[in-house]
């Protein structure tokens, strides 16, 4: 009887070990490619254009110490970059931040473009876990475009939420407002 337990456990162990081995190998051989894909998708030309029209690249912000300061003081802040056009002219700031109010599936992560004059140039969702078909509509231009042109000097309070996805819309707004408060506090 005892022997059969050892045999069963052994076979199960063998299956698990082989599966783990295959997955470990595969994970190792694909992880670089996956990281590259993700990085490229996050700053594809469409994303750049929607966040800061005319930009071709997001560069790291020159004052790295300031970025560190913001990081330590604002828990939802991810990164601050400078958008540049084809001839390397600086077009404005790009704040990458999570929302401060959770949506239906947790925090949403956004790029918020802000011009040197303090106007929002565009917003793009980097990642979210909202319900597909409902909350996910906050990622569509018909919703995000309403923020372009708004003042980044004061918190936005009135906006058109998506019907049936109020929670996701509010989460989205809180991320935009977090970017605004970062701009007001550190960049203005």
């Amino acid at each position: 009887m005892k022997n059969s337990y050892v045999r069963l456990g052994g076979i199960l162990f063998l299956i698990a070990a082989i599966s783990a081995g295959v997955l470990a190998f595969l994970n190792d051989s694909t992880k670089d490619l996956i990281a590259k894909n993700e990085a490229m998708a996050a700053t594809s030309p469409e994303v750049l254009e929607s966040v800061m029209p005319g930009s071709v690249m997001f560069n790291d912000y020159a004052d790295a110490a300031l970025v560190e300061t913001i990081k330590s003081e604002n828990g939802k802040f991810v990164n601050l970059q400078t958008a540049v056009d084809a001839s390397n002219n600086e077009l404005g700031y790009v704040v990458r931040t999570f929302s401060t109010v959770a949506g239906y599936g947790g925090d949403m992560e956004l790029f918020v473009g802000i011009s040197p004059e303090g106007k929002i140039t565009g917003v793009n969702v980097v990642s979210h876990s909202e319900t597909s078909g409902l909350g996910s509509r906050t990622t569509e231009p018909s919703f995000t475009s309403q923020f372009a042109g708004k003042d980044a000097t004061a918190e936005i309070t009135d906006f058109d939420a998506i019907t049936g996805a109020t929670k996701s819309s509010k989460s989205f707004l809180s991320a935009v407002n977090n970017a605004i408060s970062i701009y007001d506090q550190y960049l203005k």
Binding site: R7, L8, I11, L12, I15, A16, S19, V22, L23, L26, N27, T30, L33, I34, N37, A41, T131, S132, G133, L134, T163, G164
Partner: protein, 198 residues
């Protein structure tokens, strides 16, 4: 049972969603739009056929007493393999379907086919069973998701098919609407299949 019967069985007599009603959680959750429904259907066909092959090949090696944990390990491994490969090599496809891949692990349809078919039949039959069941799943997903997107959003594949004056029936794409529409669909299928018999 000949090969064609095995294939057709999954689409009609034992349709996983409309007749067997297995794997409901993922079905109800993702059918908010036609694109989602088709994506999930295709992902299920891939993993179901793959896991059927592996389990059928190993059916003499896996002892009866530990078959369920063995199935779970194999299905989970297979799902992760598909996830990693798509993420690395077909990134555009992954962006559209990526969210559904991990959901496949909890789809009991795959476990049910491993237990009921692949563990008792040869490799070729298991492949056909996987494709047939997967096709049945896909057909049901298309039906359910197109009705839900049409009523709940007035669109199909995200394109407006109804005049702008149409007020979307929000409940159709919310979770309660999924139950209601699925129930109506199953009722319709039962009605048609009974009438055919009579």
């Amino acid at each position: 049972m000949n090969k064609l019967d095995i294939f057709k069985n999954g689409i009609t007599k034992e349709n996983p969603i409309l007749v067997q009603q297995v794997g409901m959680c993922a079905t109800l959750a993702v059918t908010t739009s036609l694109l989602n429904g088709i994506g999930m259907g295709i992902a299920v066909i891939a993993v179901l056929t793959g896991s059927n092959i592996v389990i059928s090949l190993l059916r003499k090696f896996i002892p009866d007493e530990v078959r369920i944990p063995a199935f779970v390990i194999i299905i989970a491994a297979f799902t992760t393999i598909v996830d990693l490969l798509m993420h690395a090599y077909t990134f555009a496809l992954y962006q559209a379907l990526g969210v559904f891949i991990p959901l496949i692990v909890v789809n009991c349809l795959i476990l049910a086919r491993a237990e009921a078919f692949a563990f008792k039949n040869g490799v070729v039959d298991s492949i056909i069973d996987g494709l047939g069941m997967g096709a049945g799943y896909l057909v049901a997903m298309i039906l359910l998701s197109s009705v839900r997107e049409f009523l709940g959003n007035g669109t199909l594949f995200g394109i407006n098919v109804l005049p702008a004056s149409y007020e979307p029936m929000m409940i159709a794409i919310q979770p309660p609407g999924a139950f209601i529409i699925l129930g109506l669909l199953i009722g319709l299928v039962n009605y048609l299949s009974r009438r055919k018999k009579a």
